[in-house]
Symmetry: C2
Subunit: 415 residues, 2 copies
């Protein structure tokens, strides 16, 4: 992609209401554009990152045996009356022409429970796990923090259905392992994301959050370094020891929640009377679990964690492009010709390149834009590098650059 | 995929309110499940079809130079006050906590115009075309006809921005060609889809619809067979001749609208004061076009056009799977063993297979399900075919079947 043609270029102005690093850099970098509080447009660069995050999550969900479906945003009020959640403060409501109200789903238990119920005919159809990647709506009183707390935001939500609690527990543990694989692939290693015990509501002892350690996190968690788990604020207020080893040596840390899983047990199957007849003809309520992870929130979190004062430092797996190629040539000079040739070579090699081919921008401007946008590898061609028959190679997460031979650019990128 | 494990199996019952062939077969086949009037869940089979349609549309939009973005569903009321469209009947409205109203966008001119305006800094940034594939909301008084007229439905909408009318006209003609390529790839040839002149509103002489000829179509169009174009009802009421050759020999036909393109001209750039300074320092309003095509509506239309009394006949490019493999084996018998082996072979060859491995279903049930689901190729293994060391090969769109050697299944599928 030629930067000269890209929709959504960098902008120097700091958004007046950018109260967070992710809102600031993502807006300045041309990844997103704010529509209203908590509601964002994704520009081409931003949509590329979001899609890569979604793809990783999708692959891992499929690997767990989850089947992808797509549920709607609109749902009739009756479904929320059935579960008694029609009074949730965060529900956006709208009038249907001709009568009745619809809710904009903030989560999909009210949709998925009757949906699976109507398509699972016997105990032989369970266990079953379905998921979707779709936009959710929450009427947040304080929508802020860029992509971290939105009124409309992207969410992966999986729901699992089981014959008994033991099967739910088994799947739940698999989900924990799957989530850690996702974070690892996204560039967030095990030292970065901590399994955090949270309140389980009325039906389970605990639910679990996945908290990414970050100084700018909104949440405070309490780490047990021995077990490498944490408890959240709710739990520490209740009892101040590690639920795993019972140690009271817990260290507070700021963190951002990047996932949340919950044993719903029979909370929703009971409301919808979703039960099954077992082999002995006995009716049992279906056991349910739910597993949330927000791709747009993850995107904001990655920026909060991976940046420096100049801009974003994308992990390779989710970077909008693999390589940022900069030409410092003028119209029709040899630098431009060499850069055009290298651009063609990289495309032929199926390397995803953002090519800054602008003729009317200064070297400083181009280098600053590359730092702001944060693509992992920067390749620069100038009169100086060509004098050495080479290109300047620099990784975004390293300070030093080096001159490499033009013929060795591809292998340096792949190395 | 094993059919025994698939979420969303066939169902014999006709939905009580299935007023259309697409609603009936898509529901019975396990592709979709109705949530409320005009709002559907997509089950795994349906999401596969929808994704394939989206992929074809996306490729052609990229080919035209369109850049993919993603705009939100929620938008502040002010944007609609600016264009004077806040009173549109089909607008879903919702209250924002803390004050103010948001609209659920039924189309995105109110979002895309200021978005492009704020990111296009000079006349050098134009022309520019952006598109998205996203869900729209319309408060339809009579939501019906399955996926054809929804309250929440999937839409690809592209918007183009130009320095002058000539450039808009050029791009508009390219869009017409691109749309026909998409329909062709979707299985709708040029004899099936007709460019139809429609009212252009206050700024253009005409807009254009793409109408798929179908006896069950809601629309009536008037064909000029000489020019291979049509005019819609609005236009024929105004003047009853072909806008191209002026012939009055127009033949009425029923049709389903599968696309709509519109020269917006300066309708929205004027409202948002989106103008640019040209080389001579003169301010001009930006010329705009919009180009809509609904993947979910296209999906419903394909079912309306490609079916028989037994079920759907998917065009190859959008079928949920390439092959429907049926085993008539019992547990542990040689037919089951041969079918399992063939299933592995097909997967190794990267052929997308739906494998009906159910042990508790009759031959008739399996064959009826295959006809209903409508995958292009059916491969059946039974004692009878194995006696000939073969499999039964049948295309969904042909009456006859044949026995082919087990070793030649792959080449028959690819042939």
């Amino acid at each position: 992609m030629r930067y000269s043609q890209l929709f959504g270029k960098t902008s120097k102005s700091v958004p007046a209401d950018a109260e967070s690093v992710n809102a600031k850099f993502l807006t300045q970098g041309g990844f997103v554009s704010k529509q209203m509080a908590g509601v964002y447009n994704f520009l081409p660069l931003g949509l590329r990152v979001l899609s890569k995050i979604q793809k990783i999550i999708r692959e891992e969900m499929n690997d767990m045996g989850g089947q992808e479906i797509l549920m709607p945003a609109l749902t009739q009020e009756e479904s929320y009356l059935t579960t008694g959640r029609e009074s949730m403060e965060i529900l956006f409501k709208t009038e249907i022409v001709g009568g009745g109200k619809a809710m904009l789903n903030p989560t999909h238990e009210e949709v998925v429970t009757p949906l699976v119920q109507s398509h699972a005919f016997s105990y032989r159809d369970l266990p079953m796990a379905v998921y979707q990647i779709q936009n959710k709506f929450r009427n947040e009183p304080r929508a802020k923090s860029g992509l971290l707390r939105g009124r409309e935001f992207n969410m992966k939500d999986m729901y699992s259905f089981h014959l008994d609690e033991a099967d739910l527990n088994k799947f739940y543990d698999q989900a924990i392992a799957s989530y850690f694989r996702i974070y690892e692939r996204l560039g967030l290693g095990k030292s970065q994301v901590v399994l955090t015990y949270a309140s389980g509501g009325s039906f389970s002892r605990y639910s679990h959050e996945f908290q990414a350690i970050s100084e700018v996190g909104e949440d405070t968690i309490f780490l047990c370094k021995k077990c490498n788990i944490a408890v959240n604020k709710e739990i520490i207020d209740e009892h101040n020891f590690c639920p795993s080893c019972e140690s009271v040596d817990l260290t507070p840390s700021k963190a951002i929640e990047v996932g949340n899983i919950f044993k719903l047990r029979t909370r929703f199957s009971e409301a919808f009377k979703f039960n099954y007849q077992d082999k002995d003809g006995k009716n049992n309520l279906v056991e349910m679990g739910c597993y949330g992870m927000g791709p747009s929130r993850v995107m904001g979190t990655l920026v909060e964690i991976f940046h420096d004062e100049k801009g974003i430092i994308w992990p390779t797996a989710v970077a909008p492009f693999d390589v940022h190629l900069i030409s410092l040539g003028k119209e029709n000079d040899e630098v431009t010709a060499a850069a055009e040739k290298l651009y063609s070579t990289l495309k032929e090699q199926e390397i995803d390149v953002l090519f800054d081919d602008r003729g009317n921008s200064s070297a400083g401007e181009k280098l600053n834009d590359a730092d702001l946008i944060g693509i992992p590898v920067r390749i620069l061609l100038s009169k100086k590098t060509l004098a050495q028959n080479g290109a300047e190679f620099k990784r975004r997460n390293e300070k030093s650059s080096k001159i490499i031979a033009l013929g060795e650019v591809v292998q340096n990128i792949r190395g």
